[in-house]
């Protein structure tokens, strides 16, 4: 789950990390009033859950309150990568002397957090990692010890942080690590981290993404959750107990188990087609879940055929069949259904489905070929 910059900055400020003074505004008039109250110049920043706001024209410097109002007028309602800007963050402009990068994420291979510090600030860190890997200093703190002072200082030496700022940047890295742990963050980033003309350090931007599996113990952050228009179906699916990802092909997919469903998408591709979605009904899905899953897939107007691929284990073939029949009883689908049932109670499932308007195939490859043929 992503936080907006202003929300992340509040979290950082509470942990003692310096941020420029700022407030949110939902209208141009509010933005103008905030600019006047804060003192000029200010930066007007779009608050949306995507990177690259600056390039999209969502971050603008204003030297007067009238200019802040004009920028807010332009930015509010703007579409950035499919998301509409509803709020701007108006912030005192920093007096920038130098830009650094400070970020922490999860290193899956090392099974540790990795703290990254670079004097190449303001750029996408993945691009820096690609083009100038030697410019990123890294540390992997032992989780029971945290990021100790010596390790934070070593990072500053390795990255080449100017001597005057070394202690301040090291302290900021330690505080950021504590926030990373206490918020169950997957990623936390201050990019750019400004060194100002007076030598002080301040967080220019802030990015914070929280582990969805930890929201139960982060109630304050969980309240910030926003569902983007293209995530509505995915969230609805999650509430019903299965996992759904919208794709842009024409074969609707239903399966059980993440790996099997991924393989099903691959089988459709191998057969020359493309999948409209990823849908995993999970282990032990009952009739009602299968019914809801089929309804979600059929609601997608792009779907020209549906491929149901079940390998029964804990999930029973007869429950799957009942779920399908429950949908067919109410409505006659406009697109053909192809099913491959195998494993636990598959025979019982196939018997239940006899006479139903669907095509049954014995293997995943055969069913994929048939579904692709029917979708084209």
């Amino acid at each position: 789950m992503k936080l907006h910059e202003f929300q992340a900055k509040q979290v950082l400020a509470r942990a003692g990390i310096a941020i420029p003074e700022g407030r949110t505004a939902a209208t141009p008039e509010e933005a103008e009033a905030v600019a006047t109250a804060l003192g000029l110049p200010v930066v007007v920043k779009a608050q949306v859950h995507v990177g690259g706001r600056g390039k999209a024209g969502g971050v603008k410097l204003a030297k007067t309150a009238a200019e802040a109002k004009a920028h807010a007028t332009a930015i509010l309602g703007m579409d950035i990568k499919g998301l509409t800007v509803r709020t701007v963050y108006v912030e005192r402009a920093a007096k920038i002397a130098k830009e650094l990068y400070l970020g922490i994420t999860i290193d899956r291979d090392k099974r540790r957090a990795v703290v990254m510090l670079s004097t190449v600030g303001g750029m996408d860190i993945e691009e820096v990692a690609e083009s100038q890997p030697e410019r990123i200093a890294r540390a992997w703190p032992e989780p029971l010890l945290g990021l100790r002072g010596y390790a934070a200082r070593a990072l500053c030496f390795e990255a080449g942080v100017p001597e005057v700022q070394r202690e301040a940047v090291a302290a900021m890295a330690q505080k950021l690590y504590d926030v990373f742990r206490s918020t169950d963050a997957m990623t936390i980033e201050i990019n750019p981290l400004f060194i100002q003309e007076d030598g002080s350090v301040v967080a220019g931007d802030a990015k914070l993404e929280v582990d969805d599996n930890a929201l139960y113990r982060q109630p304050e952050l969980a309240a910030y959750k926003e569902i983007a228009p293209d995530e509505v179906q995915e969230e609805r699916a999650k509430a019903l107990g299965f996992s759904y990802v919208q794709l842009d092909g024409t074969v609707g997919i239903i399966g059980n188990g993440a790996g099997l469903v991924m393989s099903t998408l691959d089988a459709v591709k191998n057969a020359g087609g493309s999948s409209a979605n990823f849908l995993d009904v999970g282990g032990g899905a009952k009739e009602s879940v299968v019914k809801a899953a089929l309804e979600i897939v059929l609601a997608n107007p792009k779907v020209k055929a549906v491929f149901i691929n079940i390998f029964g284990g804990i999930t029973r073939g007869d429950e799957v069949a009942k779920g399908i029949l429950a949908v067919l009883k109410d409505t006659k689908p406009k697109v053909p259904l192809v099913i491959r049932l195998s494993g636990t109670e598959a025979e019982a499932g196939r018997t239940l489905l006899e006479g139903a308007p669907l095509v049954s195939r014995a293997t995943m490859d055969e069913a994929a070929t048939e579904a692709v043929r029917l979708a084209t």
Binding site: R111, E126, P143, L144, A214
Partner: protein, 291 residues
């Protein structure tokens, strides 16, 4: 022969709730020695004929349990794993899905200081056909034989085991290592167990998008492999930036792509199947091609 679990396995169940009780009954049916379950406050009583203990340490002392299987819900599961580690249980299998990543960082750190092996979390467990099943997989898809099998997936494991079994290719041990980003026994470590097992003649490695465990497994086999291997990667057609069901199945930027994993296996001389149905054929070819 087998790795990690076998005839010597004595299982303690942590989390004998509805799901835990169901799968425990299936494990006992299979012939796995289930010696007890921990249920705080119920020590000294029994449930479905299984002796209950207040703590894992007490259970280990009374029963000699050397393996545990965890069905505790996500919020309590890290504590259950740490309790099993503290009691020095040798093989800990965490079935639970949805454990917070930061909890797993702490668990991984403690795991590295211990002699224990953690399988999972978010996994189907493991099975040494004919001797022990410590997991939730449907047993009828597995059979005894020379194939060692490691997989990040659940259902796909059953599907592939079924294909192998129907092709007459039984298994030594099938290890479902789990679909989370931080797991106890990543692919290269699981492969190492199978590579060092004298009865395993060929290794099947089933990976998926996300992370670089498959690349490291390929590198390990290139350097230390003593037997042939066959690989399969799920999610070749998955778009970047989308989590495909498993918390760990995500391509971020240029990392974790199927293409990188396939290339790593091919560079190590390990054939990669493009569909599960190709795996038995490649395994037979690998067995026939040995010198």
């Amino acid at each position: 022969m087998s790795v990690l679990v076998g005839a010597q396995t004595r299982v303690l169940v942590q989390g004998l709730g509805r799901e835990g009780a169901f799968h425990t009954a299936r494990m006992i049916e299979y012939g796995t020695k289930v010696v007890g379950a921990s249920k705080p406050g119920k020590g000294g009583t029994t449930q479905d004929g299984i002796s209950l203990f207040d703590t894992v340490a007490q259970a280990v002392e009374s029963t000699g349990a050397n393996t545990s299987i965890i069905f505790v819900p996500a919020s309590g599961a890290p504590d259950a794993i740490l309790e099993a580690l503290d009691a020095k249980i040798g093989v800990i299998v965490a079935i639970t899905e949805g454990i917070a990543v930061h909890e797993m960082l702490t668990v991984a750190s403690m795991l590295e200081r211990s002699m224990s092996v953690l399988i999972g979390p978010n996994c189907p467990g493991l099975i040494s056909p004919g001797t022990a099943k410590v997991g939730i997989m449907p047993a009828e898809n597995f059979s005894t034989g020379p194939v060692g099998f490691v997989s990040r997936s659940g259902t796909l494991t059953y599907e592939i085991a079924d294909l192998l079994t129907k092709a007459g290719l039984g298994q030594t041990t099938c290890i479902g290592i789990g679909g989370d980003p931080i797991i106890g026994l990543p692919t290269p470590d699981a492969v190492r167990y199978l590579n060092e097992d004298p009865d395993t003649e060929v290794i099947v490695i089933v990976g998926e998008i996300g992370g670089s465990a498959e690349e490291r497994a390929a590198e390990y086999m290139r350097a230390h492999g003593t037997k042939p291997a066959v690989a399969f990667i799920a999610g070749r057609s998955a778009p970047p930036g989308k989590r495909m069901g498993h918390a760990g199945a995500i391509v971020s930027g240029n990392s974790g792509t199927a293409a990188s994993k396939v290339a790593a296996f091919e560079a190590a001389g390990i054939p990669v199947a493009t569909a599960p149905s190709e795996i038995p054929g490649l395994v037979k070819k690998a067995l026939a091609g040995r010198t």
